[in-house]
Amino acid sequence: MSKMVHFEDWKLVHSYLTGDTESGRKLYENTYEALLCFVRKQCKGAAFSAVDCEEIVCETMVRSVERLDSFNGESSFYTFLCGIAKNVTKEFLKKKSREIPADFEAPAEEDTGVDLTAYLPEYGILPEDYVIRKEDIERVFGAFKQLQSERPEYYDIIQLRLLNGVSYATIAQISGESIEALESRYRRALSAIKKILKK
């Protein structure tokens, strides 16, 4: 007889299907980062861009809605999504006329119910004091936005390097500055955010 071991996930799915949008948001938000990591891992070697991986995750999540009523909590919602993501990834590979990498494999059975943090171990190895809680993230982003008026050069380097993912080499080429100077400004920009947060 089947056994429901992921009651929390099942409850969120049930609430979402019966009209509670917030439960749906929580359900999918909880797995978004981890699923992105999973897809990147699966696409390794297939020359997929970051945008491709995000597109796969988006398609996976949208497609999962069709099967929500069959989710029974026997596996975690994350594992449920990974199953769909594998197929979506294969379709993307075919569409792009690329070969499926030799190491492309379905997650092993023992992966079922894997802790999300297994895919994000950096959250686990930091000392408690250095881990910024989810509720503080908006405060950090607020401090970053404050830089826009107070120190625009700091704002720009974080925006370009971290948020837009532009390489230092490209920024150096455009600005005519050395990579060392840009790296140093990036460090000072992060320190400036810390100072704002400590005020």
């Binding site: 999540m61 809605v65 190895i125």
Partner: protein
């Protein structure tokens, strides 16, 4: 040994690439006196990156919710169908009921 500037740069690359095992190897290459600053800055990098990801997620969720509404919200609901004033549904239910339990009416 790494400089803290280079360490932050490398960690940013790792975060952007979605590599989850990045920080451990980098810390080991840093002088002990720089590790506190690095860890604090690394937390900020993750927070800002996460915020960016979540703003992307908002767009994804709009699509999810739209699909959910297409698939599920257009279906007639059994709950409180009388209260919703769906005369056709009420009439169908009544017909089924009478067909099923007609003997009990007599």
């Amino acid at each position: 040994m790494l400089t803290i500037e280079r360490a932050l740069s490398r960690y940013t690359d790792e975060v952007l690439a979605g590599n989850s095992n990045g920080i451990d190897g980098i810390i080991k290459q840093l002088p002990v006196e720089d590790r506190k600053e690095f860890l604090e800055s690394a937390a900020l990098i993750r927070s800002l990156h996460y915020q960016k990801q979540m703003s992307k997620f908002k767009l994804v969720f709009e699509k999810i919710n739209q699909r959910k509404e297409e698939l599920y919200d257009s279906m007639p609901r059994a709950v409180d169908f009388r209260g919703n004033g769906d005369d056709e549904a009420i009439s169908q239910i009544e017909d089924i009921f009478h067909e099923e339990f007609k003997n009990e009416d007599q």
